[in-house]
């Protein structure tokens, strides 16, 4: 359970790479620095690729949480 409450949340389960990253990126663009975005992606390649792309773009990963319902990636928009 994360202490940070996200400002926005998007469910990207079922969305393949790289579209899951593209949608994450587009949502982050609309947010102000400091705001927090939560995305839920599938296990496997998405869980690996999305956080990596987020960081490469210069944002901060606050948390990556695996559960039966998918992988929650909590991002601070930088």
């Amino acid at each position: 359970m994360t202490a940070v409450k996200p400002d926005k949340s998007i469910d990207l389960r079922g969305t393949p790479c790289p579209l899951n990253w593209v949608k994450t990126k587009l949502r982050l663009e609309e947010m102000q620095p400091g705001m927090v975005l939560e995305v839920v992606v599938d296990e496997g390649a998405p869980a690996h690729n999305v956080p990596r792309s987020v960081q490469a773009e210069g944002h901060k990963i606050l948390e990556v949480g695996h559960s039966a319902d998918g992988v929650r990636v909590v991002i601070e928009r930088c």
Binding site: P18, W21, K25, E30, E57
Partner: protein
């Protein structure tokens, strides 16, 4: 302020460029809102038209008064065998819009002259010169300088090409580089000397890339530089060129303040020794 949302289809269509840090959704919106005029739907205009449409440039004007002929198909990749005899503008419009329905192609099946060019270019943010003759090159340059429109210039012959980007007020214009046209009939055309189709492709794609960078406001443009391609050795070099403060159109005290007769400027109206083979 919420930006207009992309459709699912647009997100997927443009995903490979939205991913680029230099583009993003912000850049994609710029592309969709951009208006670019392409002069010539031939060897250079074809790759330019194709890549601008693919990238989602929202409004693309195509100026070409010719019809598609068989000898064009070796390099004018916007057109196909089924288009023989059709107006090039119409063929271009059909192909470009079928690649990308987000794009509106506006055909101008006319010859550009001093009387119509300023009006035509007024509806666009920038211009691409893919024409094939000296009078048009000087006409387009002068019109863009007078109207303050950025211009992508390229020229080809045989296996060689040149490209430069003209941003009025920021660097040299075409006349700074080449102040005087050659005597009429002296320089061989592609019809006479030939041209490799892929050379047109290389240079046209470079023009398209420059236009996209201009729209997006990224990278370093070929302003003040001529990129020279020698296709036989596949060697590239750049030559730096400066704005000429004495340039008659973009210089400190311009003597050309309105469009002139470019056929006359290029000696086409005066009986001249001809240099035909």
């Amino acid at each position: 302020m919420a930006a207009i949302a992309f459709t699912e289809e647009q997100i997927e269509r443009y995903s490979r460029q939205i991913i680029l840090p230099e583009v993003g959704g912000v850049g994609q919106r710029k592309l969709l809102a951009a208006r670019v005029l392409v002069i010539g739907a031939g060897g250079l205009g074809s790759p330019v038209g194709l890549y601008l449409a693919a990238a989602g440039v929202g409004r693309i004007g195509i100026v070409d008064s010719d019809r598609v002929d068989l000898s064009n198909l070796q390099r004018q990749i916007l057109h196909a065998t089924r288009d023989l005899g059709r107006e090039k503008c119409t063929s271009a419009k059909q192909t470009m819009e079928s690649i990308n329905p987000d794009v509106t192609v506006v055909p101008y099946p006319v010859r550009l002259t001093s009387s119509n060019i300023l009006d035509i270019i007024s509806g666009y943010d920038m211009v691409v010169d893919g024409s094939d003759n000296f009078p048009t090159r000087y006409l387009v340059n002068d019109a863009c300088v007078l109207a303050g429109k950025p211009l992508s210039h390229a020229g080809i012959l045989r296996f060689e090409g040149q490209a430069t980007t003209i941003v009025p007020g920021r660097g040299p214009c075409y006349r700074c580089l080449y102040p005087e046209p050659p005597p009429p009939g002296l320089m061989p055309s592609c019809q006479e000397a030939g041209v490799l189709g892929a050379t047109a492709g290389v240079m046209g794609a470079i023009q398209a890339a420059e236009v996209l960078k201009l729209i997006l406001g990224i990278g370093d443009l070929l302003v003040g530089r001529i990129l020279i391609c020698d296709g036989l050795t596949m060697s590239f070099r750049t030559v730096r060129v400066e704005r000429d403060p004495g340039c008659p159109i973009c210089g400190d005290s311009p003597s050309v303040t309105e469009l002139i007769d470019y056929d006359d400027f290029c000696g086409l109206r005066v009986p001249e020794e001809q240099y035909h083979e």
